[in-house]
Symmetry: C2
Subunit: 390 residues, 2 copies
């Protein structure tokens, strides 16, 4: 019980959330062409906005989301929502991303994980293939982070925005931020990649594969064709559990759980059925998240992240980063196991090797990778100043 | 191909191996009683020795092995063996653990992983339960690191050794080393735990569960009752793959594989069948190791490691460490993801809080946890001096 309360407290945001209430919106791109040349007849995606677009349409900030995230970056859908969006601490009236000044646009990616979340609108293997009237399954084209960015460019055009004042995102949202700056340097004025580096290195590629493997081991996965039967929920829960632990830190698990047992009187030494509290909590987290998630979408997200090289993958690891010309603020944590400090610093060094200005902000905390989401307020005044600089 | 050669080179030891050729020996403990009070009618285990026991029987050094290891710590079984035992770099004539002086005893643990290795002799769920004539399966008693140590104490008595000159082991072998010093302080003169800390903390407990989970997801596991049918090799291979990656470092995976593809011309962006080289290499390593390993034994090893608290688990985390009175040398790497530097230093601080002498030796390297096995020679002269000190 103590742990359940702790987890709830850790997931909750500050009291003064962005106002007014947030409404999910949607947009559709017809005959969306992927960078690999495949066509998706209807790319339907959700988005949210906070603040007001000015007449000049030049005050917009784009926020792409992280791997297991959604476009719900700030505010509440209803007064009694348990928690506001994930970066509510820095988005709102008077906050570092001040919605009295800026118009924030946050977009659901294609193959978004949370297909069962009523506030997510996405297109992917779990949605209908118009050619068959059935879910795409693994026939859905393999997408890249570049494709995600191109859907956002489609929305940008529909909204009549020529240039983002900034693009800022955490983790996979940071990859999308690099991609924007590397590929479309004329369509943004500055970029803030958070807890992310400029390409997926072998270490990240391997860990992403470890995350995904339980899905493929689950017999219900059935090569991705499970929409008529039972979904591979056990494998998906395990995948989400690995992700959850990997995005945390030893300080968190040791500080929160220690060697406590899951149930009083049930010594893990006495039976295979008895668990330690940390394992039970991770199991519960994985199972809860699996309920609103889709296993194939998880695999597509893994692939997109593994394939990531900013900008121009065919021209090597560095070219895209060298193409970045706008000012860059990199925010990261040295306790991050997913995007370690060394990888982020190497990315920063390459970007600034041709004199592009790069600021590096380190977040201190005990939550590892997640500090980029949970403790972003630490970097608040640096973000405010970076956004307001001429 | 290049990667295969690299891996072979990385696994091979130095040319001048311990001589003479090594012979596997075995011992049996009748009616072995676990610390939890269960009885195993026949505990049969393998061991190896290097050097000669002196007349006073006071020159013996015990080396318990790591999670996926065996008692093959040094030398070769035959002239044409591909590689010598794992710590051959420090064991042999003139080497830091000088077999001209010391008599080294290395013992297979119960529930040893490598049931398919002809040179491993172990007792566990895959071996015969005399009561039924069939494999024990999950009816085999849950064992602890303390039980492993008690089997070694049984061998010690059979060999007529009253006191170990030293006990030294890596990783799970380090846990056994702490256990010896905490539980039987009168039966050893010094201890060298390598890449290991004094208890399994929540972080380690959780990661060990992540290692084990693919086995339970494999339908062939069947609650552990697979000895009459197909074994859960896919799950076991995945478990061994996670262990392999977790015991390595980002420097290793990035430096060895980068973003190379597994097969020329097969871009991972083009198909779900196409892999990155790092993933293919880890898959191959996991599958190869699974061939000689047993899935239930893997689960028993995970449980034993999760349950570990040195000495006296019922008296809290520290009591066993405070009971250590012999000089301690801790060897570790700061790049270790399995037993991080902070955990090892905390263990050292507790042991020396009552003035027990503790030396800490840091190994530098690019192999993470594995540096404690592959780069142990770095600590060679420190080990030699520690063993020779009056």
């Amino acid at each position: 019980m103590r742990h359940a309360i702790l987890i709830a407290a850790l997931l909750a945001g500050p009291a003064a959330a962005y106002e007014p209430l947030v409404e999910k919106q949607e947009f559709t791109l017809t005959d969306f062409t992927t960078r690999s040349g495949e066509t998706i007849p209807q790319m339907r995606l959700g988005y949210e906005t906070y603040g007001t677009l000015n007449e000049a349409r030049d005050n917009a900030i784009l926020i792409p989301h992280y791997f297991s995230g959604t476009s719900h970056a700030a505010g509440r859908y209803a007064e009694d929502d348990a928690a506001p969006g994930y970066w509510d601490a820095i988005i709102g009236s008077g906050k570092p991303i001040d919605t009295d000044t800026w118009f924030v646009v946050s977009v659901d990616t294609p193959v978004n994980l949370a297909t069962g979340d009523p506030n997510v609108i996405t297109t992917g293997p779990a949605t209908e293939n118009p050619a068959t009237g059935k879910p795409w399954g693994m026939d859905f084209p393999i997408l890249t982070i570049g494709d995600f960015v191109d859907t956002q460019k489609g929305l940008m055009d529909q909204l009549g925005i020529q240039t983002w004042h900034a693009v800022m995102g955490a983790s996979m949202g940071g990859l999308q931020s690099y991609e924007w700056a590397a590929r479309y340097p004329d369509r943004l004025e500055r970029v803030i990649p958070v807890i992310a580096s400029g390409w997926a290195d072998a270490d990240l590629i391997a860990w992403l594969d470890i995350w995904a493997a339980p899905i493929r081991l689950d017999p219900n996965w059935n090569g991705g064709a499970y929409y008529d039967g039972e979904a591979p929920q056990a494998g998906l829960a395990q995948a989400l559990k690995i992700l959850t632990l990997h995005a945390q830190s030893a300080e968190w698990s040791n500080g929160t759980f220690g060697r406590d047992w899951a149930d009083e009187g049930k010594d893990p030494a006495a039976s295979w059925d008895n668990e330690f509290a940390v394992v039970a909590a991770l199991n519960a987290a994985g199972e809860a998240r699996a309920k609103t998630s889709d296993a194939n979408h998880f695999l597509y997200l893994v692939k997109a992240n593994q394939l990531f090289v900013a900008g121009h993958p065919d021209e090597g690891l560095y070219q895209g980063l060298l193409d970045i010309d706008v000012p860059v603020m990199l925010i990261h944590s040295n306790e991050d196991l997913v995007f370690p400090g060394d990888a982020v610093r190497e990315t920063g060094a390459i970007i600034k090797s041709d004199r592009t200005p790069v600021e590096i902000v380190e977040i201190e905390g005990t939550r590892g990778h997640l500090d980029g989401v949970l403790n972003i307020a630490q970097a608040g005044e640096r973000i405010r100043a970076f956004l307001e600089a001429e």
